[in-house]
């Protein structure tokens, strides 16, 4: 069953958003993409803060925006709750009155609205801060008030715009876990916008990778991390990704290089391998590795406990090495090394 059925088309000069989007009750969909990809525009179109140029937004069997029919339901009459990136809590109202604002507008009596707001603040664990103004809340607390405020209108669709972006690392971890719990309890659908793959992977049931206004890849976390289809996704999940044409065990890459993979495939293909699968040598290695090439080190950075080495040359790639082997190789920018990847480490899948 589909609760949200949308095809978001917004034209803005040179930029065009064209994004089909569906969500089932209880499902959380993440729009993941770089800045400027059109994620926030998509969210604003769903919320009714921006009109579509084409396509449609249909929620729970009712058209909210369909330019072809001149159907338009303004934001205040959509059952959609929004958690804004910087929360936009009303600075002149207490946390309680911020949360009570929605129920009040939907016709609840003052006392009932405040009781409902107090209950929501209780659910996010902030009942004792109910009378604080937003200016005196920490970032994590403000985020939870914003979530309570959006949920208090009992929305059919909950929208979250970079809900964790404004938080420091420590608060982010706790808040993410808590947000996950609330999203799981939410009966309606939820659409989450983020440029942080961890937020997307942890919070969403399904991911839509948006680049330049279009969906470039859709799937659950596993599918997307295992088989990235664009450089952006590959970078996010930390894989080296190449596009080419497979013929049996050989993938002919764009640019003339070849990679040998263990699994055979025919036709247009992606080839991907992890930086940890790349071994570096000072001299050309003996033995079997089929995928061996001469590369130039263009950069070395810390990456967790290891060092990530950027390789330039016929095949641009990232390689992870231990500090010990980096010292042994004497790695530094400009250095020439031999790189090798075992065929079994290379994943090949249809493009």
């Amino acid at each position: 069953m589909t609760l949200l059925d949308a095809n978001l088309v917004v034209d803005r000069g040179a930029f065009r958003l064209d994004l089909p989007l569906h969500a089932a009750p209880g499902e959380t969909v993440a729009l993941l993409g770089p800045n400027g990809a059109g994620k926030t525009t998509a969210l604003r179109a769903l919320a009714g803060l921006e009109a579509l140029g084409g396509g449609h937004v249909r929620l729970d069997g009712r058209d909210l925006d369909r330019p072809a029919d001149r159907t338009w339901v303004p934001a205040e009459r959509r059952r959609i709750g929004v958690v804004f990136q910087d929360y936009l809590l009303f600075p002149h109202l207490s946390a309680l009155d911020n949360v009570a604002f929605g129920p009040r507008r939907r016709g609840a009596r003052r006392a009932d609205a405040r009781a409902a707001a107090a209950a929501w603040l209780g659910r996010v664990g902030l009942e004792e801060l109910a009378h604080r103004r937003p200016g005196r809340l920490s970032g994590g607390q403000a985020q939870r008030v914003a979530l309570a405020r959006a949920l208090a209108v009992e929305p059919t669709l909950l929208l979250l715009d970079e809900p964790l972006a404004a938080l420091d690392a420590r608060t982010r971890l706790d808040t993410r876990a808590e947000l996950h719990r609330h999203l799981a309890e939410h009966a309606g659908a939820a659409v989450l916008v983020t440029h942080d793959p961890i937020d997307a992977l942890m919070l969403a049931d399904r991911l839509i990778v948006v680049e330049d206004g279009r969906a470039v890849q859709t799937g659950d976390a596993e599918a997307i991390t295992a088989r990235p289809r664009t450089d952006y996704v590959a970078r996010l999940v930390g894989l080296n990704l190449y596009r080419g044409r497979a013929a049996g065990h050989t993938v002919h890459l764009e640019g003339g290089r070849e990679l040998t993979a263990a699994d055979p495939l025919d036709g247009d293909a992606f080839a991907a391998f992890a930086p940890t699968a790349v071994a570096l040598y000072r001299d050309r290695p003996d033995g079997s590795p089929r995928n061996t090439w001469h590369a130039t080190v263009s950069g070395v950075h810390r990456h967790g406990d290891n060092l990530r080495v950027q390789l330039d040359g016929p095949l641009r790639a990232a390689a992870d090495v231990t500090p010990a082997s980096a010292a042994h190789l004497g790695l530094g920018p400009g250095q020439r090394v031999w790189a090798a990847v075992k065929a079994t480490e290379i994943r090949v899948y249809p493009a």
Partner: protein, 266 residues
């Protein structure tokens, strides 16, 4: 040689001398007013019925004019700041015309519209049997005419400075534009509205030209403080000084009320 920890940079004389002269020019007249004031007879003078009458009329009409400015000016400011309509620039220019128009001209223009033979005046006379010119209501109209731009400019500035996305947040919570305006926007821009109201009130209190042209000079009905000052100047200099001092005192009180807003360095 060791450099001074906070070296003061020399102020060029070409800037310092005119600055001091300008300050003297602004402050000396006020000092003159204080020096020439008839302090010994001040209590009796202040208690004179004409003085109290003019003061009471001025306070009442200036306050009423401010209320008129708020009722009409805030919606104008909202339209200018929030609605993108054709000719917005022209409307903004028209709203600020009274700011640069000589008040006497404003008074003449008001007479032509609201006067007995005027466009609206004759209709009002025929329909309701009321006329504005040379009445206390006319004083309020003249004051509101000259004071309105101060309010509109001030409130529009506050609206432009206020984050419009709060209104969007209110909309997603079910608030229509009117509710969002009254419940969210207005509280957020309250300081700007208050500043605009004080400016308008001060402008209305000092109004002379449009008032005397449109409403005339009838003690107790249209003779406001500035008009009383001007007339007293011809007959009784001391009375004029006393009246002026009262207006000066009111201005100082208003300025003190706005101290944090305007006299603090930006």
């Amino acid at each position: 040689m060791r450099a001074a920890p906070r070296r003061r940079r020399r102020v060029p004389a070409a800037l310092l001398v005119p600055a001091i002269a300008g300050l003297a020019f602004l402050v000396l007249p006020l000092i003159g007013l204080l020096v020439r004031a008839p302090w010994s007879t001040m209590p009796q003078r202040l208690a004179e019925p004409e003085v109290l009458q003019a003061l009471w009329l001025s306070l009442r009409t200036a306050t009423a004019a401010t209320a008129v400015c708020l009722v009409f000016g805030v919606p104008i400011a909202w339209l200018l700041a929030r609605v993108d309509f054709p000719g917005r620039g022209l409307v903004r220019a028209l709203v600020t015309v009274p700011l640069v128009l000589p008040p006497v001209v404003g008074g003449v223009a008001l007479l032509l519209v609201f006067g007995r033979g005027g466009l609206i005046g004759s209709w009002m006379e025929d329909t309701f049997g009321i006329g504005l010119p040379f009445t206390t209501a006319g004083v309020v109209v003249a004051m509101a005419f000259v004071a309105m731009p101060f309010l509109v400019v001030s409130v529009e500035g506050a609206l432009r400075g206020a984050d419009e996305r709060y209104e969007e947040a209110a909309a997603t919570l079910g608030a229509g534009r009117w509710t969002a305006f009254t419940r969210v926007t207005l509280p957020l821009i309250a300081p700007g509205v208050a500043a605009g109201a004080v400016l308008s009130w001060a402008r209305a209190l000092g109004e002379f030209g449009a008032t005397i042209t449109f409403a005339g000079n009838f003690p107790g009905r249209t003779q406001t403080m500035p008009i009383a000052v001007y007339l007293a100047l011809e007959t009784d200099l001391e009375a004029a000084i006393v009246l002026s001092l009262i207006l000066l005192a009111v201005s100082v009180v208003v300025l003190a009320g706005l101290r944090d807003r305007w006299t603090a360095a930006p």
